[in-house]
């Protein structure tokens, strides 16, 4: 809980809701007749609407990227370290938009929403959504907010995939793309991890094929297990080792299956805490969106061809100990951009945090993001013309 709001915080923020009644045709073939998106904004949109920045969230993220909802909040938004006055995504210069994606469970239409056609909770019947569907819905939100062209679109991990998709689908609508700890498509191993996560949810007897809300329950065990597995893959061997080593709960082995090592306790806590804030159907759906993403597939599996329409400046960032979205995966995007003749810069940041590093304010990473964004800030551009 903050006693006072830090000076470099965006302060207290209130989520807003945008309702859409224009049907959205989804990649899976279904159509959403209407839907709502919950979002937050930080900073002020300038007169010619040229300073907007879109934040795309990852698997378990949401619209609350920065600031506090109330003075009682234990923690600020998930990317507060990067967004705020004077921070790399500087709200003194930029108008930042952060939304909860369609299919989410934090206020945007998703499996926990009411299906207007039946009057019942969507549950497992909520249609699968893809990265491309998200980009469509984000573009409509941008229209609604009067933003024709973003100064930058930024995202890490699954968020980076949305940024990549934006650059291809709406090349005129962004001047810069920052793609962090991401990949042009999931590797086999990544899909395999997602499948284990999904299976652990689906095999929970409380899952009821996704209609657990009808049974007034949630698949706590399955979702918790999925999160535990995911969490391991977001950390590096070293970061886990540094944090817990072989620290034990007791002085001696107890020779039982309850908690012996602190890392076990940590994972159980992480798993359990996650089930209190996240919906299992949303988790399933987000992992599928990850699996399906492959913009090169329609272009003879040539990513450079897929990227041909892109016009923005790109910044790619990877982290040395990230094995879930390793530097090689970012380099695949970099190489395709080079092949396609696009303006791209790439930094491989030394970090111990593994995939999670993209959420940490690692100085070199923050400097790169700041330097890159300053180039597209209308303020900087005006000054350089003066």
């Amino acid at each position: 809980m903050p006693d006072t709001i830090p000076v470099d915080s965006v302060g207290l923020v209130t989520p807003q809701v945008a309702e859409f009644n224009e049907p959205l045709a989804l990649a899976c073939g279904q159509t959403l007749a209407n839907y709502q998106l919950v979002y937050e904004t930080y900073g002020q949109l300038n007169r010619d609407a040229s300073n907007a920045v879109l934040i795309c969230h990852a698997l378990s993220g949401d619209h609350h990227a920065a600031g506090y909802h109330t003075m009682a909040d234990r923690k600020p938004g998930w990317w507060d370290s990067a967004i705020g006055p004077g921070k790399p995504i500087d709200t003194n210069h930029f108008f930042v938009i952060s939304l909860n994606n369609l299919g989410g469970c934090c206020g945007s239409t998703g499996p926990t929403s009411i299906n207007p056609a039946t009057g019942k909770v969507w549950g497992a019947k909520f249609p699968m959504v893809t990265v491309e569907d998200w980009v469509e819905s984000q573009a409509r939100l941008a229209d609604r907010l009067g933003v024709q062209q973003f100064a930058a679109i930024i995202g890490g991990s699954l968020g980076g995939m949305q940024v990549l998709s934006w650059s291809i689908r709406y090349p005129q609508r962004l001047r810069a793309a920052a793609i962090i700890a991401s990949a042009p498509k999931l590797s086999t191993q990544n899909i395999a991890f997602n499948e284990v996560a999904r299976q652990s949810i689906r095999r929970d007897p409380d899952f009821f094929d996704g209609d657990y809300m009808d049974h007034d329950t949630i698949p706590t065990n399955g979702l918790g297990l999925a999160r535990m597995l995911g969490h391991i893959t977001y950390l590096s061997d070293d970061s886990m080792g540094n944090k817990f080593g072989r620290q034990m709960r007791h002085d001696q082995f107890q020779y039982h299956y309850d908690i012996e090592f602190e890392v076990e306790s940590y994972l159980r806590y992480q798993g359990e805490a996650f089930t209190k804030r996240f919906d299992a159907n949303t988790y399933m759906l987000m992992t599928k969106a990850l699996d399906y993403f492959d913009p090169a597939a329609d272009h003879d599996h040539d990513l450079a061809k897929a990227l041909a329409p892109a016009q923005c400046d790109f910044l790619l960032v990877s982290f040395t100990t990230d094995w879930r979205f390793s530097p090689q995966r970012s380099e695949e995007i970099v190489n395709a951009l080079v092949k396609a003749g696009k303006r791209v810069s790439y930094a491989k940041i030394e970090a111990v945090e593994g995939h999670d590093a993209f959420l940490f304010p690692i100085p070199r990473y923050m400097d790169a993001l700041r330097g890159f964004l300053q180039r597209v800030s209308p303020v900087t551009q005006e000054n350089s013309h003066a």
Binding site: D313, Y346, G371
Partner: protein, 196 residues
């Protein structure tokens, strides 16, 4: 701009595609992009250099050149530049091949180890040269493959690489008639413009 970069700049045409190996903070590319409508990329491994490029808006890729240029297509650049870096790599000969694989031409500068002051240092003092220009000790130097003006020319001949143009310049990057007379002895920096 560093004086050797200023010198190279004079040899580079407008409207071409350039790959700058070991581009530092991107000063050369920045100049070329703004004044000669050049496009391209810098490759760098030093964090401060990369940051400098990002701040200038010079496209830069973090890449270890000892791993080669495998991610670039054959003849995909008009020119590959490497200023004062060749001597820092494990296999300068292979890197030279790589440069002329991805680029139609290359411009390379390196400190000429055959310069008379280096020879004096080694010959009279019996010690590896340490100077203002080469401020490292033998054990901590990044310069692991020093060569002389003549060594490099021989390598080009052995590989069948054509030397389009060369310059033998002093510490201030001035081209003098006497350095041209005895480049291996009198030039501090060697500049070669080569092609296949």
């Amino acid at each position: 701009m560093r004086s050797d970069l200023e010198f190279i700049n004079r040899w580079i045409q407008a409207n071409i595609k350039v790959l700058d190996l070991g581009c530092g903070d991107g000063a050369l590319l920045d100049h070329l992009m703004r004044h000669k409508q050049v496009t391209g990329y810098g490759l760098e491994i030093d964090a401060a250099g990369i940051q400098g490029c990002v701040e200038k808006g010079v496209p830069v890729l973090e890449q270890d050149l000892d791993q080669g240029l495998h991610n670039f297509d054959d003849q995909s650049f008009d020119l590959v530049v490497m200023a004062h870096a060749l001597q820092q790599f494990r296999r300068p000969d292979l890197l030279l091949d790589e440069m002329l694989r991805v680029g139609k031409e290359a411009i390379i500068t390196f400190p000429n180890f055959g310069h008379w002051r280096n020879r004096m240092h080694l010959g009279l003092h019996g010690r590896m040269p340490v100077s203002e220009f080469l401020p490292y000790n033998w054990y901590d130097t990044p310069n692991i493959h020093f060569c002389t003006f003549d060594d490099f020319r021989d390598l080009c001949h052995a590989k069948g690489i054509k030397i389009v143009k060369w310059a033998a310049v002093d510490g201030k990057l001035q081209d003098h008639w006497w350095t041209r007379l005895m480049p291996n002895l009198l030039s501090e920096t060697a500049v070669f413009h080569v092609t296949r």
